[in-house]
């Protein structure tokens, strides 16, 4: 940080190393193409300047074999770049099951992080090194974009839906978190830092937060408060599905479609029960949109997820 000029960003995650390799390869190819074009232009400009003695006889007339030649050459080069890029992208964005899951809620102009153990942070994210960390991104208001340059990962946080992104940090240290989607006056200060720690130090940190209840436990309380348990509880008389073991399974909906019950699905069930009605059940589940903030949703979902079969 004390260098007055920076040429290359720090790289502190496996994601970053993979992206670097691809970037360097593409820079090299682009540099080569640019040099070829510049070299040809320059030499032609010198050789064929007006008044030079170079011969202009036999202008190339049949041009198509040249054109087909360089069209195919570019196409092949491009396809390599495309395939490589696509493969890395799928790897970057297909979120694996994390060793650790953290909920990230963006709101004008801060990032709120919630750990499964109930630890909360604002504009800071403590994570252990060498562990896959899966982030669930949500937004309370406008679109934000969660960006950690040193990890080369970014994903928009879009109001009304959950997005996931993951990383595996490789070097302990402190790295910048930014918001990269314009979100209003203080967009430039919607920043934070990831603190990558050795696992032991991380465990200590978790313990020192003085948290009594985990997210799921808080969710359970909300589940009762909002009357969810009245219908979904074990002794309920309403014909409502049990939520035990829903998460991760396949659910068949009224309209005949089948969906995987991930966080996004659970969220939609709570906020848009009419659009996501489970097959074989009456559409009596009340619509909770407007009643539950992103924070409460996060807790409820953490609770439902904890109801493993």
């Amino acid at each position: 940080m004390d260098h007055w000029i920076q040429f290359w960003p720090r790289t502190a995650a496996v994601n970053g190393e993979v992206v670097n390799a691809l970037y360097i390869a593409e820079l090299a190819v682009c540099g080569l193409i640019l040099m070829t074009v510049v070299g040809l232009m320059f030499s032609f400009c010198v050789r064929y300047r007006a008044g030079s003695t170079a011969s202009r006889a036999n202008l190339t007339e049949k041009t198509w074999h040249w054109e087909i030649g360089w069209t195919t050459a570019t196409l092949v080069l491009l396809l390599i770049g495309f395939v490589w890029g696509a493969a890395v992208y799928i790897w970057l964005y297909k979120s694996p099951l994390g060793d650790l899951e953290v909920y990230v809620v963006g709101k004008q102009w801060m990032w709120k992080m919630e750990h499964p153990g109930g630890q909360r942070e604002i504009d800071a994210l403590h994570v252990p090194v060498d562990k896959t960390v899966r982030l669930l991104l949500a937004s309370q208001d406008v679109i934000h974009s969660f960006f950690i340059p040193a990890f080369r990962i970014k994903h928009d946080a879009v109001p009304g839906q959950y997005e996931t992104v993951w990383f595996k940090a490789t070097k302990p240290g402190t790295y910048l978190i930014e918001c990269s989607e314009f979100c209003g006056t203080e967009h430039a200060h919607m920043k934070g830092e990831v603190v990558v720690m050795e696992p032991a130090a991380f465990a200590l940190w978790l313990r020192d937060q003085g948290v009594r209840e985990s997210l799921a436990q808080e969710g359970e309380a909300l589940f009762r408060e909002h009357g969810c348990s009245g219908c979904h509880g074990e002794n309920s008389t309403v014909h409502a599905p049990s939520l035990v073991g829903v998460y991760g399974g396949i659910v068949h909906l009224q309209d005949g479609s089948a969906v995987r019950a991930d966080e996004r699905y659970l969220r939609d069930c709570i906020l848009l029960p009419r659009t996501f009605t489970v097959a074989g059940y009456p559409p009596v589940m009340p619509d909770f949109s407007g009643q539950l903030g992103e924070d409460d949703l996060v807790k409820l979902i953490a609770y439902i997820k904890s109801l493993a079969r």
């Binding site: 992206v19 007006a50 196409l75 396809l79 406008v142 879009v158």
Partner: protein, 545 residues
Amino acid sequence: MATITAGLPTSYVTSENTISSWLLTKDHKRIALLFFASITFFFFIGGIAATLIRMHLATPEGLLQPDIYNRMFTMHGIVMVWFFLIPSIPTTLGNFIIPLAIGAHDLAFPRINLASWYVFNLSGLVLLYALIMGGIDTGWTFYTPYSTLFANGYVIAATLAVFINGFSSIMTGLNFVVTIHRLRAPGMTWMRLPLFVWGIYSVSLVMLLATPVLAMTVLLVAMERFMGVGIFDPARGGDPLLFQHMFWFYSHPAVYIMILPAMGVVSELITCYVRRPIFGYTGMTYALMSIAIISFFVWGHHMFTAGISIYSAVVFSLMTFFVAVPSAIKVFNWTASLHKGSITFDAPMLYALGFVLLFTIGGLTGLIVATVALDVHLQDTYFVIAHFHYIMVGGTVSAFFGGLHYWWPKITGRLYPEMWARMAALLTFVGFNLTFFPQFILGYLGMPRRYYAYPPEWQAWNVLSSAGASILAVAYILPLGYLGWSLLRGERAAPNPWRATGLEWQTSSPPPKHNFERTPVVTAGPYLYDPEDGGFIAQNGAVNA
């Protein structure tokens, strides 16, 4: 204006001289000049915003208030995109030259042409209203739900301005399409059209097809903001990403609206100063048309990190890579056109060479951001800013200035001072690179766009960029001075000072009101230059004249 050309045979400038003969003119040449006045005005408004932005970013904490800064980049974007870049080449050089180049007496619909100018100015007034009342801070992209529910500022006025502006685009596009289909002089077959005409033709199709979608999109934004219809608001069951799909469905093609005419201009300049036929004319026309078509299928590349499905992102990436093929063909063909030429380096040629280099860099970095995995890191950073400025400013604006110098004698009847013009061309190139190249580095370092403040370790690159911007400012103001001077004092131009082949050079400079004494008959393809003896055959068959 009257005094300038006094003593010449009556031209379109001198034929009538009342104010209403200008404001109610149906002459495409005069309308072109009216458009010139309007877009020059907006270029300087957008330029002032750009100057403030670069001054602000010279230090990490800047000098403007955050809200002011946010209004500045928004104004810069809206003004430059819709009020300068998109109309720039079509409404001025296109308006003036296309009828001349195809041997027509005017555009197909002279009244619609004039109406387009009025509509353009109306939209400009609405925008100025929004600006003066306090501006807006949504960015030129108007992303929802920020623009609809959160932004304070004159969003409705600004979207209305963009909405109205679209009609001007549509009218102009329609006019060119019909003109090029119907009014070509006898013998001017499609495969004899100069590439500038092809460029304008392809861009007009895109304008016609894409602009209505923009109009719908901004109208929905205004409605949602004003009446609370829930199209984009997730709380009402809307979808904020729907906005992005609709917006980029127009705004990606819009990038090509800016670059296609520029490609046409540059093809004219290069052949003339290299004095040989363009390399691969047919390939060039196919390339223009395929860029125009593919441009409609790549909008998703603006949304790789927005939460669209992974697989659709991959398909959009593939389509984007395909655009690179015709673009590469163009670059290779321009380069090959230098081979065995007899090259002089007049200012228009310097601008054209600058265009090819900057467009190449813009195109290559476009491949980098089209690579989905790299875009995850680069999306919404300065890398993207640098990339599209290379295309839109390095490319389009260079071509615009090149074309302006090239056709200046035809438009005004005067020659511009060559040494000054060469200097401006060189300064443009140097200033441009110094301004925008550091931004590629800032982008990979991770500096997001639209940041009014940034960490101090990024200052060095920002200072360089701001220094470059001041050079660029000089390069853009300089022509205003010496071109203005040449209007009064410049040497009188002959009908064909560059010994070029286009039909526009086969009439006097400036042209008479109805363009040609007699409708020309075309007997030759474009670009019949002979590098061995410097001779040429104009499209009407005239040899060396």
